[in-house]
Every structure is written in C-alpha cells, then in structure tokens.
C-alpha cells in the first residue's frame, strides 16, 4: 500500500472519519453554548422575581433582555463567533433569533433602508414568524372547536 493517497481516497477517508468526532464535538458545544445562554437568562428571571416582578412579566422581560443582548453581540460582531463555536446552541435560543434579524440587515444595508435593511431583516425571522403564527391560529381554532364540543 502506498503512502500517497489520491485526492479521491483522501476525501473518502475524511468523510468516513469526520462525522463521529465532529458529531460529538458539535453536540457538546451546542449543549454548553445553549445551556449557558439559558442559565444567564435564568439569572435575569430569578433576579426579577426577587424584585417582586410577577412571573409572567418576568418571563417576558427575560426574553426581551436576551433579544437585546443577541442584537448587541451581533452588532459587535461577537455573536457570529459564538455561532461558529456553538452551532445550534447559539441559533436555537432567542438570542439566535435576534442574530438572524441583525446579521442580514447589516449585510444588506448597502441595498438601502427599505429593501435592504427592512426586507432582509426577515430573511430567517420571517419564516419563523409565518409558521409560528400560522400554527398558533390553527392550534387556536382546534382548541376553540374542542372547547365548544366539551
């Protein structure tokens, strides 16, 4: 067996060996990144409850704070680095939702404030809102019919 691998053989080896090691690394990175973001949110939540904010408002304000932090860190070009490390651990928390709004809006600013910033903001957030809100209407309708039938 020769030591030199052809490009094809090399590629095959890479594809065969990469997934397991990369898979575990990705999963651990996602766990720690997502976990840490949620733990930070939990600290805000508990702090607000401590100050006497009612539960529902505290949850709402925690989300708002995390959205703000996600937007801020994206603007400072830091969230992209967190995303590169954490993968889904950075994109699934609401900070990632915020990142998905700021990131394309910044990128397409040169196309103008209406069709650039205004439209591109919703590149990913748009589908999330469309399907989320549509699902809530369908769910609400089913719930309404179910309540009527009871």
């Amino acid at each position: 067996m020769s030591k030199k691998l052809t490009k094809h053989e090399y590629q095959y080896l890479v594809e065969k060996t990469m997934p397991t090691s990369r898979g575990l690394r990705n999963v651990l990175a996602a766990f720690f990144t997502g976990g840490l973001i949620c733990a930070i949110g939990q600290v805000f939540l508990m702090g607000m409850k401590e100050l006497g904010v009612d539960e529902e408002t505290a949850y709402m304000l925690t989300t708002v704070i995390m959205i703000f932090l996600g937007a801020l860190l994206t603007g400072l070009n830091i969230y992209d680095k967190i995303g590169k490390f954490g993968g889904a651990g950075a994109s699934i928390p609401v900070t990632g939702f915020s990142n998905s709004i700021v990131s394309p809006a910044m990128e397409y600013k040169k196309e103008g404030y209406v069709m650039g910033v205004g439209a591109r903001m919703f590149l990913i957030a748009g589908p999330v809102l469309v399907y989320g809100i549509f699902a809530s209407v369908v769910a609400g309708l089913i719930y309404y019919l179910w309540v009527q039938a009871m």
């Binding site: 733990a39 889904a88 994109s91 699934i92 910044m106």
Partner: protein
C-alpha cells in the same frame, strides 16, 4: 442555584436535539428554527411544554420552542376569554413583546453597526 442548573440542562438538551438534526439529517438550520417554533406551538397546546417550563424555567422559554409555547399559551387564553376572535388575536398578542423588541433592537443595531470586512 438548582434552578440555574436545571435551566442550563434543559436549554442544553433542546439545543442538542437541534444540533443532531443539523448534523445527521439534511435539514437546513433555518428549517430547524421553523420546525422548533411549530413544535413549541404543538407541545404547548398539548400541555406538554408547560410541564417542561415548570422544570426548566428560562431553559425552556429561551429556546425557540418556548416562543412557540408562548404563542400557544396566548391563543388558548384568548379563546377562553373572547371565543372565536381569540383565535386571531391571542398568539401575536402574547408574543408581542418578543416580536416588537426583536424588530426594534434589531433595526437599531443594524443601522448603527458595521459588518465585519471579509
């Protein structure tokens, strides 16, 4: 302290599920985000997600599934209070703070900051 660990683990596990879907299926990250919000709505209506929130606190509400759960919770509450009209008002009303702050902060940050030179 226990609550912080519970939030860490809950949020971590939810993100791991998404990461596994990205790594081992051909589903794109944008589609994963859509799937997670819709899953949150379904689990919310079924009363499963509220139990996860009970355990994990912010660890359950911060991931996008929690956003879906907020939509579901809102629409059910509105249906209970106003009937059929609530089907159309409840979801967005409950998610209003999140949507408005995401648009406001997102817009301002996009205007004031410069994209990194590539």
């Amino acid at each position: 302290m226990t609550d912080i660990i519970k939030a860490f683990v809950t949020g971590g596990i939810i993100c791991v599920i998404a990461q596994l879907l990205i790594d081992y299926t051909k589903i794109t990250p944008a589609r994963i985000m859509v799937i997670f919000v819709v899953s949150g709505v379904i689990l919310g209506v079924l009363g499963i997600y509220p139990a996860i929130v009970e355990f994990g606190g912010a660890g359950a509400t911060i991931p996008l599934t929690g956003f879906g759960n907020t939509l579901a919770k809102g629409v059910m509450k509105a249906v209970n209070e106003t009937g059929l009209v609530g089907v159309l008002t409840g979801g967005v009303k409950a998610a209003a703070a999140g949507i408005s702050s995401a648009i406001t902060f997102g817009y301002i940050m996009a205007i004031v900051s410069k994209p990194k030179l590539k």
